[in-house]
Symmetry: D2
Subunit: 143 residues, 4 copies
């Protein structure tokens, strides 16, 4: 009963992402992480825009990135996003690994809390989220 | 009776602005232009946040940039912003010149329309804007 | 004998692309245009990284964008890039249309010159580029 | 003998920094941190461009950010950067606090290693850096 979700997607490095060292600027990994968690949510049937329509925001509480090897222009990066559901915790954490072929480029994590969009007050993970996470888990176990 | 406003400010080029060619990425001049018009508005006593509080938005209708010479990391760029008031036109246009010492780096322009924030429908330039522009003009003539 | 190339690709709007107006920040269309021309070059067998390996740079001389309708978070935008080859001109121009389903979001253009990476001096379009453009044209006509 | 350096500077939040939540996008704090450490280095007489001219790079090994309160458009943020010199360690660490008046917005840290620009191989902190740090310390004690 791990309740773990793993999602992989790919993103190409653009000139816009690089800096004068010839590598991806350190702050731009936040974008790769955003893409990872957005596509993970979409893959379990709950696009983030749906959460927003339900009046829920999921702002970033913390960001951590370790840079293991430079990512360069035109690299096709694999973004691997992990989510481990813990029903006892109000905030959620995602972890990320960025790689190019067999080269590990970066790893990191973000923490998020669920907020009511109207009041910006914390709220429990909404049922739509918990259902999507648990349903995904069940169907993964069946396959 | 030129009704012209000129404003100068300075902005330093950061690693975040550069790309792997070692120069400022072409899209990042939009930020320099934004800084220019924001500080021009502040200088005539009407910060853009005040316009927003009055329910007015000023989105960009068009952007034009000509790149004359590369801007490089740590350059201290001068942003010169020009506004020429025309009471017969609903949209406004600003023009910009970016330079480093005597080197002309870029020039360009943006067009904007005034929108009501609630409906996103076009509106006449608000009185607060026209007053700030004309008042600024008058005091410049006096000095 | 139009020597025209059209390429279409798709890019999703991320939180990182938006601003507090809830729409894509005006400067970020430069990234969409970059993606458009990069993927056009790849589609004719000449990835931009190959040009760089040949010692050629293709910096942006000018950028023009008209914003027709707002692009919003999570929109899947179609980037349509047009290139019309003119053998008599040293610089090249690309034009772009950004749309979401039937809504035209933006259109624009960029001009570029070929530079020698070592000296940053202008150079004629390299044979690899001209060949890729003309070969692409021929095979399009055959199909 | 604390060998500690503290530097404060200010940076205004631009539209370009915000996202559709109406706050500064999480990845853009990397830019604030970059500004903080760049201006700290300039304040002790060793601009980062000088290090680069000496053939030294200082890439980011890790980035950590905690978001304590939202930063909003047009906020004038104070960036406070701390550096504590440890002669026994090859990499360096800086810590940052972002605030607006009395509101703590964010805190974080970055780790960096000194690299030779030619080979991208690690190197000891160069004498120019150690001298600037120690000289700064001494003159602070005198004042």
């Amino acid at each position: 009963m791990s309740h773990a979700i793993v999602h992989r997607c790919f993103e190409r490095v653009r000139y816009a992402d690089t800096d004068k060292m010839g590598i991806v600027y350190n702050g731009n990994y936040a974008r790769f992480f955003e893409i990872g968690r957005t596509e993970l949510l979409r893959s379990i049937g709950l696009p983030y825009v749906e959460l927003e329509k339900q009046g829920i925001l999921l702002p970033v509480l913390s960001l951590h990135v370790e840079y293991l090897a430079p990512a360069r222009y035109d690299d096709l990066l694999m973004i691997e996003t992990h989510y481990q559901h813990d029903p006892n915790v109000a905030s959620i954490q995602l972890s990320y690994q960025i790689s190019r072929d067999d080269v590990r480029i970066a790893r990191g994590s973000t923490k998020h809390s669920f907020l009511l969009a109207e009041s910006w007050r914390p709220t429990r993970p909404p049922a739509s989220f918990v259902d999507a996470v648990l349903h995904h888990h069940s169907s993964s176990e069946l396959s």
